[in-house]
Symmetry: C2
Subunit: 426 residues, 2 copies
Amino acid sequence: MKKLIYPNSADLIEALQRPELNSIDLESLVKEIFDTVKSKGDKGVREYVQQFEQLDVTSLKVSREEMQEAAQNISEELKKAIETAAKNIQTFHEAQKETVQKIETMPGVTCWRKSVGIEKVGLYIPGGTAPLFSTVLMLGIPANIAGCKRLVICTPCGKDGKVHSAILFAAQFIGITEIYKVGGIQAIAALSVGTESIPKVYKIFGPGNQYVTAAKQYAQKLGLAIDMPAGPSEVMVIADKTSNSVFIAADLLSQAEHGADSQVVLVSTDKEMVEQIESEIKVQLEVLPRKEFATKSLENSSAIVVQQAEILSIINEYAPEHLILQTDFNMELLDGIINAGSVFIGAYTPESAGDYASGTNHTLPTNGYAKQYSGVSLDSFVKKITFQEITKEGIQNLGETIELMAEAEGLDAHKNAVTVRLNSIK
Amino acid sequence: MKKLIYPNSADLIEALQRPELNSIDLESLVKEIFDTVKSKGDKGVREYVQQFEQLDVTSLKVSREEMQEAAQNISEELKKAIETAAKNIQTFHEAQKETVQKIETMPGVTCWRKSVGIEKVGLYIPGGTAPLFSTVLMLGIPANIAGCKRLVICTPCGKDGKVHSAILFAAQFIGITEIYKVGGIQAIAALSVGTESIPKVYKIFGPGNQYVTAAKQYAQKLGLAIDMPAGPSEVMVIADKTSNSVFIAADLLSQAEHGADSQVVLVSTDKEMVEQIESEIKVQLEVLPRKEFATKSLENSSAIVVQQAEILSIINEYAPEHLILQTDFNMELLDGIINAGSVFIGAYTPESAGDYASGTNHTLPTNGYAKQYSGVSLDSFVKKITFQEITKEGIQNLGETIELMAEAEGLDAHKNAVTVRLNSIK
């Protein structure tokens, strides 16, 4: 970790810069794959799976037998853990439901809005170095609560030609049975244009590598919605002399192990605490299976010692995906936090609680996008339709206002739609 | 209007097709302008205003004197109308505020979320054939309620080198005083990258032509958020033999006058009603100042006679931006509507009420995007940050669940962040 002790503002700004995102232009490759999937359908998808994953997938859809087999591969302990996590995620997202509230904005003018689930949604679950079955819960549970009618998962097989059992178990646990064995650009293409077996959906969710990200951007160009733009995962930890260096070292490493491009920023009001955390990191790092990822990630990361008064502006300027507060002045910070994805308060609140099981969503804005984006929530799976009903009395109250404004905008037919009604009442 | 009487499903699907959006590739032009604005700042912006609008804008920012002068140009009647509309919009959007609700998902595990206004937002207000001051209210009022700290308007001048008085009045009426005289791609570029005078914002709202749309798409690629993808405005009207043909003709024309590419679809269970509406359109069209736009738009539009049972699937397949229900079975339709932007119920509820003054937002998803997008609302101007606080008891309750899941995903450092805490409690 680079260490900055009471840096000046220029050095501070530089330390909080995120590395440039890999900007290889993948659009021509993405377009080619989308076009092929559109023209050749399932056959096109299978050819790409063959080409990119060296797998011969005769049937794209996971069969009922494969689902049943998966359930048998999962320990009872893990099943129970998934059940507990699912329950908490359900509870937290269920509370986000809105009741319809009719508002009479003026006498005879009643307006309301209603949340309706997006009919067809695609959930992309990466395979790769970690089988992210937790993401199945984080996306599938709010989609169910929202009332989405068709939930489709695409996920790549492992080298054995099978989807990871935990992914299949988590999916069926929450009632998702439509799962296709395809990953990468071809998965996003199939969800965007539709094939004989894979339906065209309206919105695509889920994390992925740069290929998946480029494909989601292209899908957005075609008019599909996506959850949010993607970037490497990151955490900012705020510490002081009262922090527990063992806990914080563990939190920093849990972020760093995601990948070499993960970002870790430690901000402390106490220099000794930084040193204790650094030496604790060395100890804990030694026994980590993903030591290599974590080491690389830590090389790009910073530890900054600052005055307490500077902390809020550092948080809001960096806009961290995950923000851990482990100081004796946590409560003084809360109201001033404007830009962050998810905030973890106090010594016994590790980020991994939110990653898996406390109930909050783990799909969060990275790369500073917390300045303008929220994490995934129930909102992400609904559209809110507005309704209005105006009585004769209402149009008499409101009519002239509309006429005057329409006229001033030069839109006479808009005005006339009111005039004909007012005339009919006279 | 093309007329279809009890069409078969193939003809129906064709009639509900939207025209292909103009897909001129503007990206290289957009990139050039963004790059120039980034390197040359205000000077670059002024050069483009000169080049594209033949206007010499020495100062980009609207001055206090111009604001004051604008207020004097507005009639008291129109001021009163703007005040009434603003009050209704305020009332409807104010009701969308969410109170913080702390959820204890399991003993000792407390999660909540808080809405925070996006700090800096840019509102694009087109000039062009209609000075859309109503859009200033529709975007500015929810931005204020959300607590956005810096609201910036960009809008092109008219040929006289001035911003339309009604736009300036509406802006200052709701407290927006930072307005720049620039439209088109260069406006979106300035809001995206920032110049000496125009701040870089985090999210850009507002309608615009294909140049503005292409620029907003490009801004999105750079990581900014935008309100929603754009397309031509449209209305679907549902009629039966009880409808008022004069009202419906006026509603169809109020949509058609927007532009030659506006879409109008009339769906009726009664053939005679369609004929009455058609002849009424001819009468009303004659006196419209924007007759030419409306005539062209109607040429691309359809009137369809169907059985009542087919109506819901037609609505949901088309996913209209505006949906007007003027039948004696309106209430039977409401629950089944899944895809629509805003719904207008009953004879005395013209679309223009929602365009201006009833309180609902008029920035709505077009082009079928109502399948996956909501209209603009208070939600559009906030991010929802999640928070969690776990006690010793909480991590004891939840810890094993997290450990098991992290281990199964192969993320040992995630597991360890819990283990070190559990060990410390033992």
